[in-house]
Structures are given as C-alpha cells and as structure tokens.
Homo-oligomer: 475 residues x 3
Amino acid sequence: MSTTSTARSAAADRCFSPEPEQRALARDLFAGVKDLPIVGPHGHVDPRMLAEDAPLPDPAQLFIVPDHYVFRMLYSQGVPMEDLGVPSRDGSAVERDPRAVWQRFAEHFHLFRGTPTGLWLTLELEQLFDIHEKPNGENAGRLYDAIQDRLRRPEYRPRALFERFGIHTLATTDAATDALEHHRAMREQGFTKVRPTFRPDAVLDLDTEGWRANVERLSAVSGVDVADYPSFLRALEQRRAFFKELGAAATDHASKTADVAPLSELEAGAVFERALSGTPGVDDARRFTAHMLFEMARMSAEDGLVMQLHVGSLRNHDAGVFRRFGLDKGADIPLATEWTRALQPVLNAYGNDPRYRLVVYTLDESSYSRELAPMAGHYPALTLGAPWWFFDSVKGMERYLDAVMETAGAYNLAGFNDDTRAFASIPARHEVWRRVTSNWLAGQTVRGLMDADDAHALARALAYEQVLRTYRLEG
Amino acid sequence: MSTTSTARSAAADRCFSPEPEQRALARDLFAGVKDLPIVGPHGHVDPRMLAEDAPLPDPAQLFIVPDHYVFRMLYSQGVPMEDLGVPSRDGSAVERDPRAVWQRFAEHFHLFRGTPTGLWLTLELEQLFDIHEKPNGENAGRLYDAIQDRLRRPEYRPRALFERFGIHTLATTDAATDALEHHRAMREQGFTKVRPTFRPDAVLDLDTEGWRANVERLSAVSGVDVADYPSFLRALEQRRAFFKELGAAATDHASKTADVAPLSELEAGAVFERALSGTPGVDDARRFTAHMLFEMARMSAEDGLVMQLHVGSLRNHDAGVFRRFGLDKGADIPLATEWTRALQPVLNAYGNDPRYRLVVYTLDESSYSRELAPMAGHYPALTLGAPWWFFDSVKGMERYLDAVMETAGAYNLAGFNDDTRAFASIPARHEVWRRVTSNWLAGQTVRGLMDADDAHALARALAYEQVLRTYRLEG
Amino acid sequence: MSTTSTARSAAADRCFSPEPEQRALARDLFAGVKDLPIVGPHGHVDPRMLAEDAPLPDPAQLFIVPDHYVFRMLYSQGVPMEDLGVPSRDGSAVERDPRAVWQRFAEHFHLFRGTPTGLWLTLELEQLFDIHEKPNGENAGRLYDAIQDRLRRPEYRPRALFERFGIHTLATTDAATDALEHHRAMREQGFTKVRPTFRPDAVLDLDTEGWRANVERLSAVSGVDVADYPSFLRALEQRRAFFKELGAAATDHASKTADVAPLSELEAGAVFERALSGTPGVDDARRFTAHMLFEMARMSAEDGLVMQLHVGSLRNHDAGVFRRFGLDKGADIPLATEWTRALQPVLNAYGNDPRYRLVVYTLDESSYSRELAPMAGHYPALTLGAPWWFFDSVKGMERYLDAVMETAGAYNLAGFNDDTRAFASIPARHEVWRRVTSNWLAGQTVRGLMDADDAHALARALAYEQVLRTYRLEG
C-alpha cells in the first residue's frame, strides 16, 4: 500500500473482511449507520473544556500527555514518563516542550502497529487533520506544525468539533462532591447535550485516600450535615437529585469485585461510625462498598438513574509510578471477576423491577459468555455494557459479539460508549465500533444466520438505538 | 435476501464460510453426514409423549411454553412469564389461550435475531411446517393455523416424527426413583430406540428439597429398605440394574462443582445418618455429593453404564422466579469451574480403567483448552462432551472445536447431543452441529492442515461414530 | 487432495487463509521470514546428543519414545505406554523393538488428525525424509526403512542437521546442579550456538523428591558448603555465574502458581533451616518457592540473566503413570492462574529496572488478555512469552495473537521458542509460527488495520528480532 490511493481505498474498508460478499454487505450496513448521531453515555472528557470552549492547546496535549492509552505503550518500551510530559505529583521536572514530547511520540509510533490506539490515532490524523502519513522521527516537526495550525482555527474549538462530530449526548464522569459548575454553565448557555454522571466512589469506598475529607466535602456541597449513616444516605440522595437536575442519566461505580450485597442497617451504621471515627474494622471497606452499591441500586430504582458498574481493575498496580505520577497512568491491571454469585443479591432484589436498570462492564472476557450473557438473557433490569478498555479494539469487539450475541441477544446489550478522555478520538472510536459490528453482522448474514433486513436492524440497534434505550435518553 | 429463492439458497449454505473454496468443501462434507441417523444420548424429551403417541397439542405448547430457551429471551425484555403461559406453582392465573401466547411470541420474534434459538425455530418452521417467513404480529394468526393444521395430521404424531427425524437412539433423563413405566411400555411395544438415563441427583444431593421423601421413594421402588448407608448403596445399585434392563446406557449427574472425591466409608455412613435424622453437619451436602459421585464412578466401572457429569450451573438464581414458577425457568446461571484438581481423585482411581467411561460437560469455556482437553488427551476413560447449553450454538461450537480439537484430538470427543426438551427441535440441533463441524473441518482443510480424506473421516466421526462409541451404543 | 501435486501446493500455503488477497500477502510475508535463522531460547533438547554427535538411533526413538506430545495421544485411546517403548521406572518389560513401536504408531496415526503434533510429524516426514504419504498399518515398514536409511547418513547426524536447520541459538534446560560437561565440550570444540539455561527448581522447591540430596549436590558442584540460607544463596549465585560463563542467557522456573513474593530474610532463613532439618512447616514449600523466585529476580537484575517463568502446570496428575513411568509422561494438567496480584511484588521491585527482564509463559489462555497483556503493556521489564505447550498450535497461536497484540503490542512479545525435546521437530515448529504470524498479519493488513510495510516489519520482529532482543542475544 505504497500509494495514497490504495491506502484510501483500504481505509474505506477498514475492519471489513476481505471476502467480497461479506465486504460488500459490511459496506452497506456501515453506510446505513455511519452518520447516525454519536451517543456517549460514559466517558472522561473534561467538562471545563466544553464549557469554556478555549482553543485546544497543542498536539502533545491533544494526543499524548493526558492519555494513558498512548503513553503506557511508550513507557513499556523504556521511554520515561517524564520525557513525555506526564506531570509529576511532587512537581519535579518533566518535559515542558510539547514539540519535544511530540517528537518522541513520533519516533516511537511503530510501537502502535496493530493496536487500537494506533488505529484511533491514524483515523484522527486522517479525518481531523488530513494527515495521511505515519508519524516518524523525520516528519514529526512538519506534522506538529500542520496540526498546530489547525488547532488555532475557530472550527477546531471544542464546541465546533462537538457539533462536527455529530454528538447527540456526551456524558462526563463527576465526583459526588463536584459542584458541576461547568455543567451548569453549559445548561445556562442552552447547551444540554453534555450530561454529568454521578460517580460516588470516593465517598463510598472507605479505603479512598482522604475519605473523611471527601465526606466533609459531601456535607458542604449537599447542605446535609453528614453526622451518621442516615444523614450520609440523605446527602447522597440530595446529590443524585442535584445531578439529575443538571441532566444526569446515570451513576457510575468502579469496584475491584462485583459484590453488591446489603448489610443490615445496623451493621451499615456501625461500619460507617467506625470509619468516621478512624477505627475501621477488618474487611469493613469491602463490605461497605458492596452494601453501598446495593443502596445505589435501591436509589436507582427510586430515582430512575441508570446504574453502571465497572468491575475488576486493580488500580495503581505500580506503586512507584503511582507515587510519582498519581492516578490513571496506565498501570491499572485487570483481575478475574466472579459475577454470578456477586450480583445475585441485587438481581434478586431489583433485577425484575422495571424501574431499575443495571449496566455492567467487565475486564474479564471469560465472564462474557459464562456469566454475563446468561444473566442478561434472563433479568429484565440487566444490560451488558460495551467491550471495555483493553477490549475497546477490533478483536476485542469481535470476541465480545461472538461471546454475547447468541446468548444475550442484541436487545440486552447497551450498544457502545467511548469511555475516553481524549476528546478528539471520539468519532474514531465510534467509527471502529460501527465498522466492526457492520462487518460482524455481515458475516452472520453471508453465513445464512440472519437475513439482510435483520442485519440492518441490528446494525442500527447496536450503533444508536440500544444506547438510547438503555440509558433512557430516548425521550 | 428479499426473494424466497435467494433465501433458500442461503439456507442451503447455512453456517458455511462465504469463501468459495471452503464453502464448496463444507457442502461436500455436510452432504456426507446430513442423512446419518441421529443419536441423542442425553436430553429431556418426555418419554410419555413417545409412549402414548398422542397428537402434539398446539404451537404454543410445541414451541414456547415448555422451553426456557425461548421464553427466557422474551422475559428478559419485559414480557411476563404469565403472559407466555408458563404454569405457576401456586396455580395462579396464567395465559391459557395458546393463540394469545403464540401472538406474543410472534410479536417479539425479532429478539431471536442472531441467536441459536432463532436458528432452530427457523429451521423447524421451514423443514417441519414449510413456513418460510419470519413470525411477526401480523402473520401470527395465519402461521398458527398452518402449524395447527399439520399437528392434527397422523404424520405429525410423535412416533411418526421420530421415524421421519431418523433417530437411531434417544435417551431421556429420569429420576433414580422413576418407575420408567413409559419406557417399559415402549419396550413392550417392541420400540427400543428410546432409552432411560439414570439421574440420581435428587437422592444424592442432601440439599434437594424433599430429600428424605426421595429416599423413602427409593426404598419403595427398589424394594431395598434404605435404613443406613450400605442399604442406600444397595438400593442405588438395584436401580442402576433396573435402568440398564430397560435399555439405559448411561447415568447423568448435575453438580455445581466438579468435585468427585471419596470419603472414608465411616465418614460417608456418618454423613448419611446425620442427613436421615435431619441433623446435617456443615458442608455435609457438598462432601457427600462429591463422595457419591465417586461411588457412581465405581458402580459405572462395575456395571458399564457411561457416567455423564454436567457441571457448573447455579440453579434457580432468581429466587422470585423459582418461587413462582419452579425449576428450569431460564434462570440457571453458570459458575467458573475448576476441573484439574476436582477430577484428580476419580481419574486416579478409574481414569485408566477400560471398564469406565466419564463424559464431562462444562459451562465454563475457559476450561476447554486449559483443563478438559489436556485431561482427555491423556486419560483413556475421559471423553469431552459436546458444547453444552449456552454453547450449543454456531459460535459456541466453533469455539469448542477451536479449543479442544488440537489438544484432545477428535477421538477423545463425544460427538453431539441435543440436550433438548423441545422434541421438534432435535433435527435442527443436529443439523447445526453437522453443518458447523463440516464447515470447521473444511476450514482446516483449505488451510492445508488436513486433507479431504481426513476431513470426511472426521465429519463422520463427529456426527455419528464417536457418539456411538462413547456411549457404547455400537453393539 | 488425492494427487501429490495438489497436496504439495496445499502444503505451500499451509496455515494460510483461503481468501486470495490475504493468502497472497501471507505468502509474501512468509517468504520474507522463512529463511531467517532459528533462535530457540528455551527447549529440552539433550545437550549430549549435540556434543557427541552420534547418529540418531531409529524412527521410534526419533519420533515417539521420548516425546510425550506423541505417546499421550495414543495412550488416551488405549495403547499402553509399555507397547510404545516408554521406559518403566522399575525396569519392568516394555517393548524394545523400535520397529514394533513404529508399527503401532503408524496404525494409530489417524489420531493426530487436526492436531499440531500431526502437523509437525507431517512436516518432518516431508521435509526431512521426503515422505509424502501418511503413516498407516500397511506402509509402516516401508516408511521405517526409508527413515532408518537416512538416519545412517552423515548428513543426518545431529550437528549436520543443526546447521541444515539454520539454528542461530539453541538453549537447553539444565538443573542448577548440572556440571554442564556437554556444554563445556561443545565450547571447547568452538561450537557456541548451544547455551545452557539455569533451572534451579529442584533445589528451590522444598517439595521436590530428594530435595536434600539435591542441596548436597549443590554444595558439591558449587564448592560452597550449603549449611544455612546465606550459603544457599551464595551457592546459587556461584552456579548462575558458572552457567553464564558457559553461555547461559537465561534462567527458567516452573511453578504451580505465579507467586513471586519475598519473605523477610529471617523468615526465609528459618524456613530453610526447617527444611534442612527435615521438619518443614505447613505452607513452607509454597512460601519459600515464591520467596526464592523473588531472589532469582534480584540476582537477574544483578547478573543480567533473563528470567523465565513457566506457570500453571500440575505435574504428574496421574499418580499411577508417574509411579510406573516417572516425569514428563503427558499427564501434566494446567491450572487456572492468577497473575495480577501474584506478580505485583516482583514488578514493583524490579519491573521498572532496565537491568531486569522477565518472560512469562501461561497455560491459562484467559490470562493473556486479562492480565498478561495489560501488565506487559506497562512494565518495561515484562515480556510475554510465546504460546506455550498446548497452545503451541495453529489455533493456539492465532488466539494468542488475537488476545495480546492489541494490548501489549508486538514489541512486548518474546517471539517464539519451540520448547521441544524432539530435536527433529524444531524447524517444523518454527515454520508453523512463522506461517501463522504471517497469515495473521496479512489478515490485519487486508482489513486495513496496518499497511504492508508494517506487516513486513512485524513478521520479522516476531520471527527473529524480538527473541534476540528479549533474550539479549543481539550482541
């Protein structure tokens, strides 16, 4: 593929089978969904960026510095995080020249061969910056200038890109104690496509650094004096209502295990007291998290916020990197996850309740077909989330579809979300999902396992309709 | 595929790769096996139906009401089981009009897009009822009448269908305490293609509801007064002999874990005494089940009945559904399963014994390549069962073949069984297996990994010969 | 494929997709790597064979008797190991006639249909002996003679084959107490392509049969009187230095679990004392192994030997076979393996240390994408080993590439090693890897996920460059 024209035609069929019959149908299916609005019900874009709508800074900040998907790969091959401009916690010196960061990235771009990050970066360069060559040590400076030049133009401002991307809904992820000033600001501007998501981990997980300070902040922002367990619950309910007012459709919860199981009110109160007084018992944190997730389910059944569970990441696996650089630095490593017993209490309590919706995300692929698809194929309240994190990739999506479609059916799936902090990568990520699902459905069709009408209907469902339905955004 | 002729040609190549070379060979291989007799060594068809040979009642009873594969999918999307005619335990009102049940099913038929249940239903409609349109709200009544019209004809009686399906052997699954009157009746009619299977779970698992009543029934039917552990064993031996007389080739055992490990005779006796006297010890049930499975292995080595183990389902996960509707309502959810250590005691005792044969079924796909194929590739007595339950699907079979063929080899596999309670779906299920194996073998062949002669031999082995050999039905 | 010419053309495209576009590119990629030198950084070839360079004995010894990959499959189908000439531990009679062993093997050759062992055997027969028919009961004698005839020729001596195979480096696996006389002899002959590997399991694992005798032998060969824990460490350091002098590039460690976690020096010393005095504590062996692996990591960081971990095999699962035939008889069965928590201590201590390199091998495929690829995609010191043992197969490799390439990237993979004790199978095994990677990369390319330049670069990296780099053999 040395010539640009060949590359462009290959690009048109990206992710599609080379088999002509399947490829032709995949093109058809993709043509039917590629321009559907983007719905992003879960992600990590900074709402300030969209509220303030200031120009995006530079290529290094846009592509590398805040994105652990990118810098982890360079780090794994010996490039120090300092050299990539990743800010240190103690303020010690890191590279400040974005051009130097970009140069290092470009010199190591071959590391992304065959990775989803490489695919997204390629799509972004092509579609957003009309760059059709691979970064390398020699062209790095020229590409930097070309990107920087565009970033200065008004049509590259965040809100302009937001519209260009065709985003219908973008949800951010926000602490329970967040004042949501940027969300408020956007609403006041009449811009309601961005929604907050209630993520209370830092007040629910007793092991969080600074948990007590977080609870004090919860008191402050909620106006409920959190003095004991009942007032803690009231404060959380107040915050959920506040988030809902500002457009929240969902809550989000990260947990090492999938345990969602109630304590008695008495026990819960006692655990909370011990934590407040700084004398936690053995295993209190684990049991309290499981209990509070159950309480979150109850509140969801009551207030209608969709509950998302992201399970199975052992955060900050590399203690040295965490000490020097803090959270989200590419060293969160998955754990095997048990779902069948862990979710039984919450599904027995609320799994048949039409007011409740639970969307689950796993980092343990073996649980797709073994536990999650069978449960989603029974409980009305349970929906399977998209392939998450390391599985947000061509092969990851294909394995997900292989593993869950037959048992759960398409209508128990939540469609896609991009889960990204890299704003500019949003269209690329949705495009990959739409391409992969189109190709997968085409594969089923040319194997006589569904007809083309069904394939078209399912392509639409997976690209757009199911995510609206699951997150109750249809209205 | 809007025209019928295109749809019919697609149907001829169902499950086959679109790649012309592979497809052509898959057709060849399938042509060589599609008309081989059907051997069903494990399943849940009601023997009464075949003994009495009364006309099949109506489309709702035929396709929906007794089949949790079907109604679970509708339930997961909010259709109450009551509306589908699923009988309630307390006799409270459920839909009694089969036409109304069928109408609801037809309105939701899109939920089966891309599922194996959808594929079987489609094949049944096409092949048994000559219906080539997808059920929907509008054609529901018409299709109902068309099916009902056929069900009244003599050639749609169960035994006529049995012959038309080309069934060589069909095994049912029967409690240890079953009098097997329908099996006896069939034998007396000279009809010996249906065989009982000895499934003693309800007397081996101390946690079974009504265990003591079951043991009393065991006394009654066996004529052995079960007063203690030795007489319990004798009663079981009596029942096995009785089942064998009526044609049984195998026993079947369901268990949450794969543990098969002996207690001392003293311990086993003490546990049994405690259970009989209603004062079970902690962990007694688990240890006794493991022990009794070991005893079943011993008896199998002695009487030659093939031992089947179905492991890893957490039955009745949804307590509310179980309370209202009872067993087998689509809420049995798999568990991760450890096999390597769990089977070591029984394989060390009997795994090299030519009299013994153990066929294992798992709901944890990750154990196919990790544990089961390596063990089956060593122990002469161990054979891997077909992909079970949620894996009885096109993708499930392909993953199974991918995972086990290289390590276990084809001759340590048990071929296929349909495991169904839906009598009319038997040919469809075997057809899917034969198609998928034909296509898989064709794929290996066009990749130069075997030659066509080997592929033909393996297609036959997987469709027919291995199941006969494994279940000792060759004679 | 009845004619030889068709079979030959199929052979040329072995392992390649039948889709013409992908196949054409796979051919191109394979052509670029098929003649690269073979680097075998881990395996079980007997160094004596290469040092002495005596003629290879006979077809049975060459293909069957020492290779548990081969005889386990025959054993699983009821052929006694005695009949295959597998030596018994007590010297009781086994088949001594190699021609009779070969005859039995040939009669059962159909058991290898679709297995990697069958593929390797076929490639060896074709490429080494110009035999293009499948062994069977009738041609067995003729094939035996044809092979035997070649084995007598000088160009079939081990060292001649070594050169013909194009082997750049071949590492053996040697006990810590081994005097390495054959390695010394080869070095003295100026033949330095064979390297020893330091495998100290038998002195690190307190549960090893004869552990104390092994420690005494360690004293003897090291010249360090092992009287306590500090002298034990010194003796190990001496041996590592000795292995390094004789060309060792790596150490190798087999373990049931991936635990690598230090004890305090005090604890370690106490455990060692208890073991020496024959009064081991509960759990001492497990904890000491984990501790000593941590010490091995420290020593690796200091002396630069690459550390290999092979985890998850429950050795000698079949007690009867072990009693009669000893180690490595095809009854080693994998266990589910936890890596994330297990490796955290060693990766926190040395995972960011440029002096340290850890290469990990798993028998639990579910850990590829869940745990190993994410860790390798972060820690600079961690590299993923090739698909091991049961996964050293076409499908096994494809699943490995599918599971790890996207997350770990190609540059965190160790390339391939053959891990074989069957010397003559080395080229076949590397050929299969090179074919499968070529085809896999071609598949990515024709799906527009990389360009042909990248695919060529990665094919080279996976066939040759990464193994040199990982094992520090570039110099």
